[in-house]
């Protein structure tokens, strides 16, 4: 067991304690303080910080999807479109080669957020008229179409993509940091921002409106909710968070490629779905918990596959089995473990299986 494995486990536990339903404020503030502390101090005792930065990208992907899929109930299967758009916007902004903008990274992040948001506005207007399976299929098509579109745009580098400078040292706020520490804290700040945004949303009129749409769209509209506007706003916010995740990916990997192993790869279309599912959809802390839990399991399996050929051969199968187990035993995600409703312990699992069985 290495230091990173411990960090993954501790973050999941503290995340769950923070997500607990309780009326006693310090029961949540204390674990939140510890969680923040652990994440801020992780660079001091992590054995390999570059393993943790992608977890923030995963958490952002999960939190982006969570706004439209978890709160508004419109499960998008095409978030990679916005991830890729954000990544390309970032790469085109900060690349120093000819025809690109050579802007500072902060400007790149803002441009990526804006471009992803505008793209969501344009595609959202027609796509959000669809419900259920039709919406899901259309967003999946959107992901494929966006990749092909970008691949064929010569000013975005065509089939070869865009390369950006490799970062070795960089100034972040007041300190000059080495590469790994810099990207870790950049990921931390962006993730913290997304958590705050989701927390605000969960308590706002907007958030209640989205949940009403998820629960019953006809009832929501007859109660005075402008469902078209709310869905579009949620779709845009989701795309902005996802686009920022893509921007971080492009920045971290020094560029983008339109190929199937690049920013449009299927992994970045599945993580936004799997992560909230594991942590808990439609909750503030679910995606963060899900990111550390799921990517933590991947990390453990990858570490073990060095010494075990069995794990090496069966890694994907084990990951898949864990996803199925969580969906069956905890359909509301890991946060259900700390929920205040329903039975506890084994009875909870048994009830969940009974409820989801066909």
């Amino acid at each position: 067991m290495n230091a990173n494995t411990v960090i993954f486990a501790v973050v999941v536990v503290l995340g769950l304690l923070t997500a607990r339903r309780t009326t006693v404020t310090w029961h949540r503030v204390l674990p939140l303080g510890l969680l923040t502390g652990i994440l801020l101090l992780a660079p001091a005792f992590s054995d390999n910080l570059s393993v943790l930065t992608p977890v923030f990208i995963g958490a952002l992907l999960g939190m982006g999807w969570n706004i439209i899929g978890g709160y508004a109930g419109y499960g998008s299967f095409g978030q990679v479109a916005f991830f890729g758009i954000g990544a390309y916007a970032m790469a085109a902004s900060i690349a120093t080669t000819e025809n690109f903008l050579a802007l500072p990274p902060v400007a790149g992040l803002l441009i990526a957020a804006a471009v992803s948001g505008v793209y969501a506005l344009l595609v959202g207007l027609p796509v959000l008229r669809l419900r259920g399976h039709y919406f899901a299929i259309t967003t999946l098509t959107l992901a494929i179409a966006t990749q092909q579109l970008v691949k064929n745009l010569d000013f975005l580098g065509g089939a070869s993509g865009i390369s950006t400078p490799i970062i070795r040292k960089q100034q972040l706020l007041f300190a000059e940091l080495d590469r790994d520490t810099y990207f870790y804290f950049l990921g931390f700040i962006l993730t913290a921002g997304a958590v705050l945004a989701t927390w605000w949303l969960s308590r706002s009129k907007f958030g209640y409106g989205l949940q009403a749409i998820r629960e019953n769209e006809d009832a929501a509209t007859s109660m005075g909710i402008d469902t078209t506007r709310y869905k579009l706003q949620a779709f845009i916010i989701a795309a902005v968070i996802t686009g920022v995740a893509g921007a971080l990916q492009a920045y971290l990997r020094s560029g983008v490629s339109p190929e199937d192993d690049g920013v449009f790869q299927i992994r970045f279309n599945l993580l936004p779905l799997i992560i909230p599912l594991i942590g808990g959809t439609g909750t503030v802390w679910g995606p963060l918990i899900g990111a550390f839990a799921f990517l933590g399991i991947e990390h453990v399996l990858t570490s073990a596959s060095g010494s075990s050929t069995f794990v090496q051969d069966w890694e994907r199968v084990i990951t898949g089995a864990i996803i199925v187990a969580v969906v069956l035993l905890l359909p509301r995600g890991l946060v259900q473990l700390v929920g205040s409703r329903g039975p506890r312990g084994w009875r909870m699992f048994a009830d969940n299986i009974r409820a989801t069985r066909v």
């Binding site: 209640y208 409106g209 009403a212 629960e215 019953n216 509209t221 005075g224 402008d226 469902t227």
Partner: protein, 258 residues
């Protein structure tokens, strides 16, 4: 009668037609609802009652004809805008927001309905007092999915009331209730009416119509066949033929006269 019926027409349905493909669901229906009244809308299954409610509340567009709310043409206006103009409705098949608490369900009504002005925290307080009024105060923090049918109907009503509507459309809220529950529910509707809310109530339970309504509109096969005070309508031969059957008519007109 303790509620006040004014001269002003608050809801005016004018020659509303609606077709689905070749099927005529509504073949030109007109009626008026005076402010402060309890008006009943009855008709056999498939007569077009719910289609009419859906048109008035903006869930469906009329093929032709107009609906006027407080003097404004609302035919074809989006449902959420009509809700903000002071019209609330319940659904025949109740639609609770199952994964939200009872209080949150009602707060959504308070937040967006009416003028759409309340903040989330103000709406939570309004929700608390409305839940007391409909007798769900003790269940405020339970998930809505845990409510039984009577509770769900109360919740449906509470959500509509929380928006402080001027006009309330009740789409068969009383169907499926047992005798004791029915008395309770009727008292509840009366108390809502006494606060000045105009009510258009769609019902199958004839006892309700007779004891509760000032005026009744009867539709059959998409057309209005009678309107007037309940006692007169119940004796109307066209109504008896279309809907009631002779025995029921005798019994209920007797009850109304007593």
């Amino acid at each position: 009668m303790s509620h006040v019926v004014g001269d002003e027409v608050i809801l005016d349905v004018r020659d509303v037609r609606r077709t689905f493909g070749g099927v005529i669901a509504l073949g030109g229906v007109s009626f008026q609802v005076p402010r402060g009244s309890i008006t009943g809308l009855i008709g056999p299954n498939g007569s077009g009652k719910t289609t009419l409610v859906n048109i008035i509340s903006g869930m469906l567009r009329p093929t032709s004809g107009t609906v006027m709310l407080k003097g404004n043409d609302i035919s074809g206006t989006a449902a959420h805008k009509i809700a903000r103009m002071g019209l609330a409705r319940t659904f025949q098949v109740v639609r609770p927001f199952a994964n939200m608490t009872v209080r949150e369900n009602v707060a959504v009504g308070a937040m967006f309905g009416g003028a759409n002005r309340r903040s989330a925290s103000e709406a939570m307080e309004v929700a608390g007092s409305v839940l007391q009024k409909v007798g769900l105060g003790a269940r405020a923090d339970a998930p809505a999915e845990e409510l039984a049918i009577m509770g769900r109907k109360r919740l449906e009503l509470a959500r509509a009331l929380a928006s402080q509507p001027e006009v309330l459309l009740l789409d068969e809220v009383l169907a499926g209730l047992r005798a004791g529950e029915l008395e309770e529910a009727i008292a509840l509707v009366r108390s809502v009416s006494e606060t000045g809310v105009t009510i258009l109530i769609i019902e199958h339970v004839l006892k309700v119509i007779v004891s509760l309504c000032d005026e009744v509109v009867v539709i059959n096969r998409g057309r209005k066949i009678a309107e007037g005070p309940p006692s007169a309508v119940m004796r109307n031969q066209a109504v008896i033929d279309a809907y009631l059957g002779h025995r029921a008519a005798t019994r209920h007109s007797g009850a109304a006269d007593a």
